[in-house]
Symmetry: D2
Subunit: 468 residues, 4 copies
């Protein structure tokens, strides 16, 4: 009934040592050496392999309605792809339409997510604000297990909010110890650039990037940080993609402000040359923020190493080239934004982060699992190899190799932005809540096995408003 | 009929040499040595004195309606105080009410300004935006001699505009070579802080400063600079008061962006201690941005010396303690914002800038006269001692002394924020358009002698949008 | 024979959970819950208390000869004071005189250190350089267990080296995977300022600080970082005390350079006002770098929180007011430099760091123990609560209180720079290599029980020279 | 006898207006309109042309002994090439050998310079320091007309000095109001990199640049600035070539420190690609600092525009490819450093600076003439178009075109680093001390017509030591 992982090199965000992990009833119950399996136990020989806590992806969008279509992975296929790649927990976003009842939207997301194969949680996106929205914030924190709120500084016409609303959300979140997260781009400037470009006949894919230059992300990041500083609220900046935004985050942290930054593998490994040279293939890379010119990637790696950024998520949100991305063939503004990533986050970060010396093994675990658990209120249940924690475990074979391809990936999409990337180091086994869901290249998931995770941020420290 | 200024040390923004200046029919007609007066000429012996071009104050508000009252100096008394202090040209602001017709407002300002004793020009404040406001911009540039437009990033409820409008203005201004100027404070954050403070019972004068901390000015400055960068528009930031804003201006300039910064004597010479220690006297110092904590002043001086800031204006906008400032006795939000400054700008900058080694004599002239003329399209008619320029000249006695006091100043207001300040160096004679309007302590102005100055910015260089 | 610590809240640099720690033969042998003691075991009830790994102080000077006298704590009294305060490992410095044989000096330090009550290691100071000093470096790394080398950019007349030597050391260290540490002050500038001040009759204590302003530390820090960058060598900067140095460290780390920074409680908690206001008491605070003006302390706290600095050491090096510090009564240059700190590092960092919200509990452990173990090659033997680690453990009572006083401290010196500081949170028990050496206020140490720790840095990653 | 320049557009560092300039006995005697020539006067019709003050190049090395050879232009050919390009004054460097008597070296330079065709001055290089060198400094200032001193932070084996000497020079210079200038590269690091590269067999030309990366210039610049700050001495940094150095200069100026920066056309217009792609042609570009990677050039232009840098010099110091540069065919360390530039400075800065919008016309004059005069004590005699100034004048035809080529240039060297560069805008006439030395493409110089210029810095303001 149990699972015994023997002789692995256990790697946490802090430690690295050889030992056995014994799992029963979905929980880690023993850490030691020389343990013998009980009858009925599954034994995994992890000699020469690493044992990581299961990955946590705090930024994904499964079956998200966007621009008249829906992102291609649903909660089952998306979480299964995650499991295949060593990610066993996701935090998705409830994104109400403007003026839609927040709890109604939450219910819709709960219905969609019920088919997930591994555990999941939600951020609530605040897409509109009325005086009584403060009550929604409180309700989510106190009754729904949702202590983190997403905001969009872009997309003012649909899901974005203005600074007045953002300030009020920060005040409301602060009063109940919740965390505000922000998509930081100056939406008005982007809108102007988009229209200006199109008016000049510049409708090709590459103009997507021209319409969202690093300056608009850097500015919005700095602005959100200022608002957070003066309201005393911590801040989590999603998908930091450029030097300008990094500098704003680094300056805030150096000042003592409680600001967190997230990036994604695509911003670390790809640059904007893809928009110009690949014809319509370039549409696969259309996302916001866009991929950046060469130079930004190196700065992001350094920021991970230095602790300026805290997490690596994926913003997983795939759309097919055929039938979805091709809506914008003649106008970059009509290309659905997003790409697949959840399956390859951990192997990419190992192959291109650890093996190339950008980060060490402990940082790998921290960035892809533990820190997200701590920031978003899942710790120590998730992201931890300690007695009592959920038995989400990855046995990781550092010698295994593979090549990424849309032909073979588990993402339900016709294109991979990492097509052809060589991987060295892959999960050999993935245990989800005490059950082996992936072994030696085969998925064995159960639709609906995933559970909704109520989160809380009890120890959330507040900074002082007075830090002017 | 002419005026001959003999043997003065002529000081421009570049040069310093001894010579004679001969003036006839309102113009400088000769620069030389050993000139003899013609019959009927007035001769001024300037031996041992400096001869400066007349000062230009590009930021004043005469008889400005604000918060239900009107600023205490009208165009006659305000320009006369200017003349007494060596400032012979002002640029005031036409500030329409929300939705008021721009040209109707302009006409109102023309009526008020007709009584000015020295020449004047206008900036147009863009206080609301509709699609056809672009036409207003063009009309002002092409037909009204107004190529500079003021915007407020604060005061959204009255005269402030949002970023969408600001971007559109920048586009419109750029298309006709006009210049956008900006009052940079994040108004929404200020509004939130004001209300939060008052809700906590914090209504005393000092909370005015708490509600507008340096961070809100620094952020808005950086934001306006980003918008200007991406629209390719030059930018002039009025009344820079703090290190955070300086850093944004310096970074933009170091990048090659065409950004100008202005400060005022009060931000150089006073700090925020006045709000806390002087009882209701502190109301005299209520302005926006507020006076800053110690430390910022030194940084502003250094910025003047280093060329990070280009102009020193006054934001002259006085209100009486009795009957005006006292409306906010019980709530800092009700105190009219502003103070008097035009008369003492030049002497203060000489006494506390030049004599204390912060700036040199050429910089004094540049900061208080020539650079404003160049930036705002008055050069070489104003701000210049060359043949053909308007005969606005200040004979400045470096040995004269005085003590600033509301008892003796020419400002029509019951309080001076520089009360008791010692001055060394004062105008002995001020020539306005070829006529001596001030001599040895006596004003001899003529109501209505001032003329409206149509301005143009023909050589205005545009930066490229591509400077991402 | 064993020690069982029951029901404590075990706190590591990562985790926090309730459990039992079982110790036998000097090692941690079990981590679990509900353990029962064997016969002969000592049981410590840690309910309601924290269990930390023993502190590591990587910067102390026991019985150091300096300026004709010797620092007041010897290895016995100094390590005992450490034990009383929860620090169970020190790294002291072998500091040869100019031209003294390095191994002869090492032997002398081994003789002095033999009386230590807890474990110790050495850094080797490189105080002079000849071509064959490279061999010394290799010998220390390969045969003496010393993979870290200290250099002084000040003190050129005695123990300091110039940049030529520093570069050669970096090259030599790099070739064997060793780490260079640096005392960063521009010694020539300091020397000039000292002489200039004394020539002006400025001999009082406060001029010690004037002679070593933040600019000389900031400059030298940036310079050492540049040399490390171009030689591809990691760098550890000791006792960072000021904003200027912090900025250099932060910039290097943001660029991806492997630079570590250390600070000390005195730089976090005290400012330079002590030099001016306390008469000869001020001599107690004479150290290099000196205490800094208000403002720097807050920046150092923020740097700890943000991860810009990695360790908190003490630079423990006490001298008595009477008979030692008073040598410099009439000339600040003659005051021996240094103060006591080892006993109070952990309690001060808890009381003023954790309780005041600057850092969290995990950071406390990281900064005072685990990170030093990792950087200097003592991990996982020291600084870790995992099975197999040395049984150096602190049971820490968060409710205990005390007031620091030279009357009661275990430091062998007549003055405490933290005299009168209130502490909340103190060790109740300290286990050293499996033996309880401190319990409920009583020391029970054994002279000579400490062992010399050979260190190695096998995994030391090298940065690339090419990072220009 | 006189020269009358009629109807030109007179352009100074401040003004731009149409007028006549009348010159007699080597001086400007009248500025006006409508002047008629006297009999015997030469008249130049400057309609449609600019009239600039003659250029001043504050950084040249004529017939400089270096590495066993001598730079290819002597004082006659070098100043003549300058005249052909609109530069009518040079400041060369007296560079004594280590331990050579300073005045003996000065006498040698006076002998060499006597053949100059236009006026010249000297900086004194301080290449060694003994206690009594302070007297040399004073003597140069008080009796030789040399108030500026050059130092080399590189080249420690020959002409470089260490920081101890630099500090003492700053103190000495400060006591007599003199200015220290610095070649800022960390010589020890450069030396180590050179040797390391050669030891690795990397002897090709491109490794010259690898051995002097931007980091060594940035570091040394920051260090010199710190020393200047703490000794209260102004500082002039020669040939700033990279972003790192710019940032140090900008930070110092923003703090109010009196720091000046100079760059050269080669750092603005060329990048390091020339070292790698042109075979031995690349040797022509070997200079120190070397040309920089793409990106630095744009930053330098922005720094000129923003006023972060003050002057554009040439570091004119040519060596022939054949017989000089080729000494280093097999080892980059043996290539004489330097290139020609004096003839093309003004036209290049007009064609590539003004016409491409990096700087305006007034800045052109300021950067190439007036500011150097002010900084180095030649103003108002040189660099000025005012009555009484020396009649060094350039009539500049903005429509003239040419292509730079070693075939046609007046530099006495076989290679131009700007070979093939197109010029638009060239001097049509150059007046030197009232005599036309260049007209319509023809030089008419007189060997020995140049005079030695004694300089003084009477008004040199000192910054305060206390600016910590």
């Amino acid at each position: 009934m149990g699972v015994l992982i023997k002789n692995g090199t256990i790697v946490t965000a802090l430690d690295r040592y050889v030992g056995d992990v014994y799992v029963r009833e979905g929980k880690i119950v023993a850490l030691s050496r020389g343990l013998a399996p009980s009858s009925g136990d599954t034994t995994i020989d992890a000699s020469g392999q690493y044992v990581f806590p299961g990955g946590i992806d705090p930024h994904v969008h499964m079956e998200l309605p966007q621009m008249g279509t829906v992102s291609a992975d649903d909660f089952e296929t998306g979480t299964a792809a995650g499991v295949a790649g060593g990610t066993t927990t996701i935090i998705d976003f409830v994104i109400p339409e403007r003026n839609q009842d927040y709890l109604e939207a939450l219910a819709a997301w709960h219905r969609r997510a019920a088919k997930a194969v591994s555990d999941y949680a939600f951020h609530m996106a605040i897409t509109w604000w009325r005086e009584d929205t403060t009550k929604v914030v409180r309700h989510c924190v106190h009754h729904e297990g949702i202590p983190s709120f997403k905001t969009y500084m872009a997309y003012k016409d649909t899901i974005g909010i203005d600074d007045t609303a953002l300030i009020q959300l920060m005040r409301a979140a602060n009063s109940v110890g919740a965390l505000v997260t922000v998509h930081a781009e100056h939406g008005d400037m982007v809108g102007d650039l988009r229209n200006t470009l199109v008016a000049e006949g510049k409708t090709a894919i590459k103009y997507h990037a021209h319409s969202r230059p690093p300056a608009v992300e850097g500015e919005a990041t700095a602005r959100a940080i200022m608002l957070a500083r003066l309201t005393g609220e911590p801040l989590y900046v999603v998908h930091v993609s450029c030097i300008e935004a990094l500098e704003a985050v680094a300056a805030a942290r150096a000042r003592g402000q409680q600001v967190y930054g997230e990036t994604c593998p695509q911003y670390l490994l790809l640059d904007d040359s893809v928009y110009d040279t690949r014809g319509f293939e370039g549409a696969a890379y259309v996302m916001s923020p866009p991929l950046r010119p060469p130079g930004h990637q190196e700065a992001l790696w350094a920021a991970l190493k230095a602790g300026i950024l805290q997490t690596v998520a994926t913003d997983h949100c795939p759309f097919n080239q055929v039938g979805q991305k091709d809506r914008g063939k003649d106008d970059f503004r009509l290309i659905p934004n997003g790409a697949a990533g959840i399956e390859h986050r951990l192997p990419l970060m190992y192959s291109y982060g650890v093996l190339q010396g950008h980060i060490d093994l402990n940082q790998l675990v921290d960035l892809t699992s533990t820190r997200a658990a701590k920031i978003f209120g899942l710790y120590p249940r998730k992201g931890s190899i300690t007695v009592g924690a959920d038995a989400d475990l990855v046995v990781f074979d550092p010698e295994a190799t593979a090549t990424i391809s849309a032909q073979t990936h588990h993402h339900r999409v016709d294109r991979s932005i990492f097509e052809g990337y060589q991987l060295k180091g892959l999960p050999s086994h993935v245990v989800v809540n005490g059950r082996v869901q992936y072994a030696n290249g085969k998925l064995d998931t159960q639709r609906g096995a995933g559970r909704y995770l109520e989160r809380s941020l009890p120890g959330q420290r507040r900074t002082h408003r007075g830090c002017w």
